[in-house]
């Protein structure tokens, strides 16, 4: 999780909304990538869950986009994706071939925790009251998301006890 070139102290509400949209877009894209990876590796349950997460991120992105359009119409965006890195998107190495639904949900939960930490860390630097209110709202939403994922996790039966190593080929003479 990192940012580049974001001046939090002088962040305007429009830029803050745009960043929040970009964060959702990045997460949606990563979940779609993970889903594709799982499908490629015959892991349909995890793929389904990642697609579900992608649709959630897309929904949040659309909600934020609607708010942005209402408030700032089609004013050109001045922030871009190069300024944010893995804020709400799960880490690249969070995916594994044949991962169980539990592991997939744990990866999503870790991402929600990470996103929450981002908004918490950014808050002290914010000077604009509207931006602060937005970040507080987003921070609180991350807590709700964590709870939702945790609820889903709690519904799952225990894992098989197999680890990733059980699926790795042993070195063999060629």
């Amino acid at each position: 999780m990192a940012t580049r070139g974001i001046d939090f102290a002088n962040l305007s509400l429009m830029d803050a909304l745009d960043l929040a949209i970009l964060i959702e877009e990045e997460a949606e894209e990563r979940y779609l990538d993970f889903a594709a990876q799982m499908e490629q590796h015959r892991t349909p349950e995890a793929a389904r869950f990642f697609r579900f997460m992608a649709s959630n991120e897309a929904k949040h992105g659309l909600e934020l986009s609607a708010r942005r359009a209402e408030r700032f119409s089609d004013a050109p965006r001045v922030v871009n994706r190069s300024m944010i890195f893995d804020i709400e998107a799960p880490d690249f190495d969070a995916a594994r071939a044949f991962m169980s639904p539990r592991k997939a949900m744990e990866a999503a939960l870790a991402s929600e925790v990470k996103a929450h930490a981002f908004f918490v860390a950014a808050l002290p630097a914010l000077r604009d009251a509207d931006v602060r209110a937005l970040f507080e709202e987003l921070r609180n939403e991350e807590v709700e998301h964590q709870e939702l994922v945790q609820l889903e996790l709690d519904k799952l039966p225990p894992d098989s006890g197999l680890s990733d190593d059980d699926f790795v080929d042993e070195p063999s003479a060629q």
């Binding site: 990192a2 940012t3 580049r4 070139g5 974001i6 001046d7 002088n10 962040l11 305007s12 830029d15 894209e29 990538d33 993970f34 594709a36 990876q37 799982m38 490629q40 590796h41 050109p76 965006r77 001045v78 922030v79 871009n80 994706r81 190069s82 890195f85 893995d86 880490d91 690249f92 190495d93 969070a94 995916a95 594994r96 071939a97 991962m99 790795v168 080929d169 070195p171 063999s172 003479a173 060629q174």
Partner: protein
């Protein structure tokens, strides 16, 4: 806020879905490349991306740039040919440690001494992953693989020291553990006018050892900037490069503060010199026709 980008990272992403193992470091590397290219802002049709053979060599196909997934170890000569034929192209070459330092090991020296304006990105995972886990040129001594059942008896190639010793004008190292840092380094490498080498420690989740996974890399990594390293100091860079394999220094080891002319510049100069007295293009065949 400032800075608007005409191109976004997604503009460099092709429709082809990567088929690397989930969790592979190369997923992060390709994202770093998309972002670096977006920051550079050249349209995809002005970029040529050449690779050799291996897991990481699939990378050109995942971009919208012109791509050539070429022959094992031969990405650099092909990239050189492309650059000479069309100097206006931004030319990138990529591959793995086996492709770059074993099968293609002989080519790096020549691109460096010619100072070809090419950025070479190596995804170094210390193993031949695509062919199921054989010893590679950067595998640690003692490493047990299917081709070294009792442990490797060979010392690994040190890619950083190797390229610095050959005189590369830009040598850097990055890691998928730091996507922001990695894309900034790739961007800087592309902007360097001359041969630029970026070694990326990209873990193999299937055949890599535990210590080489993201968690292991994080435990030994640190930025060169935090050590107060001056990237203009080549000897200091060579000193630090010796830690390859035990510490993961991230950042620019060496950037020549006074980049020499590239091979392309010299070719242009030579062409200008020789073309003064040359026949116009449409009469060039006259040279070969006896009057």
């Amino acid at each position: 806020m400032s800075a608007t980008c005409e191109y976004q990272a997604k503009d460099y992403k092709s429709d082809l879905k990567p088929i690397w193992c989930p969790g592979c470091g190369d997923y992060s590397v390709v994202q770093g490349i998309y972002r670096a290219l977006a920051a550079i802002g050249r349209p995809p049709h002005e970029i040529a991306f050449v690779s050799g053979i291996g897991c990481s060599s699939r990378i050109p196909g995942y971009t919208t740039a012109y791509g050539f997934n070429s022959v094992h170890g031969r990405s650099l000569p092909i990239a050189q040919g492309i650059k000479l034929a069309n100097p206006d192209l931004l030319v990138l070459a990529a591959g793995g440690d086996g492709d770059g330092f074993s099968i293609g090991g002989g080519h790096i020296a020549h691109l460096i001494r010619r100072n070809m304006d090419i950025t070479y990105i190596v995804m170094d995972n210390q193993i031949y992953g695509l062919t199921k886990g054989q010893l590679s040129p950067t595998s640690q001594k003692g490493r047990v693989t299917c081709t070294s059942r009792y442990g490797s008896m060979e010392n690994p190639v040190n890619p950083l020291l190797y390229t610095l010793a050959y005189g590369a004008g830009f040598v850097a190292q990055a890691s998928p553990t730091d996507l922001a840092g990695m894309s900034a380094i790739i961007e800087e490498a592309i902007r360097y006018p001359g041969f630029a080498f970026v070694n990326i420690q990209s873990p193999c989740v299937t055949y890599g050892e535990e210590a080489q996974q993201i968690k292991g890399l994080k435990a030994i990594q640190g930025t060169l900037a935090s050590l107060g390293h001056n990237p203009a100091d080549r000897l200091a860079a060579m000193d630090l490069a010796q830690h390859y394999g035990s510490k993961l220094h991230l950042g620019v080891f060496y950037r020549n503060p006074e980049p020499p002319p590239t091979y392309g510049d010299l070719v242009k100069e030579r062409q200008a010199l020789l073309s003064k007295d040359a026949l116009p293009k449409e009469r060039i065949l006259d040279l070969f026709i006896k009057k």
